[in-house]
């Protein structure tokens, strides 16, 4: 029995469906693809593009410099005992940060009413303090990371905890 090829060629969308999984094509389209060299060629071309992209990316990516180091006798239990203490410490550091760094970088010191000479003294002191805090012009501060507070990694881990559920696979 001779198979009849569907005359209509596969659309671009059909070709993408075939690229993801050709089993998802409708039966007529699947038969057409099998028998039509033009559609087959188009699909090959698209597949080749993404294949080449993946291979190039692998070629251009650097190689790891060092081998994996495994811990000697890791004890997850001892780590977990320390965790509450670390959390308390991290909370304390966080409060300290919020109360010291945040107001300094986000608010201006209010100027209180006082006699003219005291005002000028205070203004002078404020300008000096501002220069001590941020000696560089604003445009350069980001480059020099002057305004970047240093975070403790444990603190970051506490505030933005790791995603759990790596192990519950099948």
């Amino acid at each position: 029995v001779k198979t009849t090829t569907t005359p209509r060629h596969l659309s671009q969308e059909d070709l993408l469906v075939a690229l993801v999984d050709r089993n998802d094509l409708e039966s007529q389209q699947a038969v057409h693809l099998k028998e039509c060299p033009i559609c087959q060629q188009k699909l090959d071309r698209i597949a080749l593009r993404y294949d080449r992209m993946g291979k190039l990316a692998a070629q251009l990516a650097p190689a790891p410099a060092a081998n994996i180091r495994l811990p000697q006798g890791t004890s997850p239990a001892s780590r977990s005992r320390l965790r509450p203490l670390m959390a308390v410490g991290a909370a304390a550091v966080m409060v300290l940060l919020i109360t010291t760094i945040w107001p300094r970088t986000h608010t201006e010191i209010p100027i209180q009413a006082s006699p003219p000479i005291e005002i000028s003294d205070r203004q002078l002191m404020q300008e000096i303090n501002a220069l001590v805090d941020n000696a560089l012009p604003p445009a350069v501060q980001q480059l020099a990371a002057v305004a970047t507070p240093q975070f403790d990694e444990d603190l970051i881990n506490w505030i933005v905890p790791s995603i759990q559920g790596d192990g519950d696979l099948l």
Partner: protein
């Protein structure tokens, strides 16, 4: 992925069973077996992370972190046959942690995480000749433009399929999605990238 578009089945082969055997040994406390698994997957996981963070130094640290975490929790792996998917899931989660933490740090340091200057330039990661560098930069920029069009899920499915070479089944296990959802994400990603395909071809042509 080969140009012959292989049907996406997952037949057991000698490599899969060897990996499963090593994973089972590692679960029973054999450090040597875990070391062999690390040797087998280190470069692959490193590349996978590098594609997502584009910083060699950070990719080194995160790769170390992934294997450290895998070593500590390998007993939780229920099916050693799934070791590869499990390892990739750990890596995907560590990359997500990395981006979330950078976003948090950026809130305080006024650094835009999307700012290209925030990323380590490729020439710091690899050190080819200048002309090659420019071409390579154009390639990665084109990839960035293409990926920027995609949603998070589409991007992850696309990277896992076409950069990391995982099967649909493996991607489903990594992303905790069923296969038809993965295929939908992939199809949408490819459809969105249709317009940029010609520019990608150009960028690849010079390399």
């Amino acid at each position: 992925m080969s140009a012959e578009h292989p049907v996406d089945t997952d037949p057991p082969n000698s490599e899969t069973s060897q990996i499963a055997h090593l994973a089972a040994l590692a679960q029973s406390g054999d450090r040597g077996a875990f070391h062999r698994l690390a040797d087998r997957f280190q470069a692959e996981i490193f590349r996978m992370i590098f594609y997502r963070v584009r910083s060699k130094m950070d990719a080194e640290d995160l790769t170390q972190d992934v294997f450290f975490k895998a070593f500590r929790s390998i007993k939780q792996l229920r099916s050693p046959v799934r070791f590869k998917s499990w390892l990739y899931r750990i890596a995907v989660n560590r990359v997500r942690d990395y981006h979330r933490r950078n976003a948090f740090k950026a809130m305080f340091s006024f650094i835009a995480v999307d700012d290209p200057d925030f990323l380590e330039p490729e020439e710091m990661a690899v050190a080819p000749e200048i002309a090659e560098r420019i071409d390579q930069r154009a390639f990665w920029q084109q990839i960035n433009h293409m990926l920027d069009e995609l949603s998070k899920m589409e991007k992850e499915a696309f990277l896992l399929r076409f950069f990391d070479g995982l099967t649909i089944k493996e991607i489903g296990a990594v992303m905790k999605k069923n296969e038809s959802t993965v295929k939908t994400h992939l199809y949408r990603a490819l459809a969105k990238m249709k317009g940029a395909a010609a520019r990608l071809d150009e960028a690849m042509e010079v390399l």
